[in-house]
């Protein structure tokens, strides 16, 4: 089977990216707020 269709594997990779991107969004908002005069 193509590993891209392995349910738990895909779940693990998606969860990783979701958490990292959510944190990046939080940092981006902090970054934007800190640049306001």
């Amino acid at each position: 089977m193509n590993p891209i269709f392995h349910r738990h594997l895909v779940l693990g990779y998606v969860v990783t990216w979701t958490i990292q991107l959510a944190y990046l969004l939080y940092v981006g908002l902090k970054w934007k707020a800190s640049r306001k005069p």
Binding site: K30, W31, S34
Partner: protein, 234 residues
């Protein structure tokens, strides 16, 4: 600095894209576990990222404690920088720790038949996660220099659990697999995926920490300026 940051991001995304390609389509499936073992290529870098950023958090906290009472302006600025770095690395460490726990649990379901068990490794890592979350809550909901000092001391105590987590699979019999790095247990065919993803996720962590650090540093300086202005106005 801006150009360097963009170049770093491009390098990071390149490493992660290639890491994904190698992990999914180049290295063979594990002979015992099959494709689910590929989750290791995201699980392992998360623990490395956590260990790196908690270690930097420890160093920055010690530096803050050493510099905070010095009267020279340079020392004060360095203390401020150390405190900002401590916050940024603690947050990134908690993110990596969370991912390590979640990916481990997702791997455990098809391999062990359970999502979670309270063995020494999983219990000690949960304690570590809770301590650093408490550290971040302290920083979020308290304020002033005493909070920074308390947070720095707390981070030193928190770090004591890091070597306990690392050694737990050696000291106690655990459901969690024993060490596979540095003892020849990891099949040679898996190493390219390990290295690419490790490099990619560490580069990602450094990129995000640099943004968080800069934002926190600007926030602190703005607070100081506002305090000075209100003193001058009084």
């Amino acid at each position: 600095m801006k150009l360097f940051r963009w170049l770093w991001l491009a390098l990071t995304l390149g490493l992660l894209a290639n890491g994904f390609r190698v992990a999914m389509f180049v290295v063979p499936p594990d002979k015992d576990q099959g494709d689910i073992a590929r989750i290791f290529y995201y699980h392992f870098p998360s623990w490395c990222g956590m260990s790196l950023f908690f270690a930097i958090n420890l160093g920055a906290s010690i530096a803050y404690l050493a510099l905070r009472n010095k009267t020279q302006i340079n020392a004060q600025i360095r203390a401020l920088k150390a405190d900002s770095l401590a916050l940024a690395t603690a947050e990134m460490g908690v993110v990596f720790c969370t991912i390590g726990m979640v990916t481990g649990s997702i791997w455990a379901r098809p391999v062990w038949g359970i999502w979670w068990t309270w063995d020494a490794r999983l219990t000690s890592i949960t304690v570590l996660w809770l301590i650093y979350v408490a550290y971040l809550l302290l920083r979020q909901f308290a304020s002033g220099p005493q909070m920074q000092t308390l947070a720095a001391v707390m981070s030193i105590f928190a770090y004591i659990d890091v070597p306990i987590v690392y050694m737990s699979t050696r000291w106690w019999r655990t459901q969690h697999p024993g060490p596979v790095i540095g003892n020849g247990k990891l099949d040679a065919s898996m190493w390219p995926a390990v290295w690419w993803n490790l490099a990619g996720w560490l580069a990602w962590g450094i990129f995000v920490v640099s943004l968080r650090y800069a934002a926190e540093q600007r926030h602190k300086l703005a607070e100081q300026r506002a305090a000075l202005q209100s003193l001058e106005a009084a």
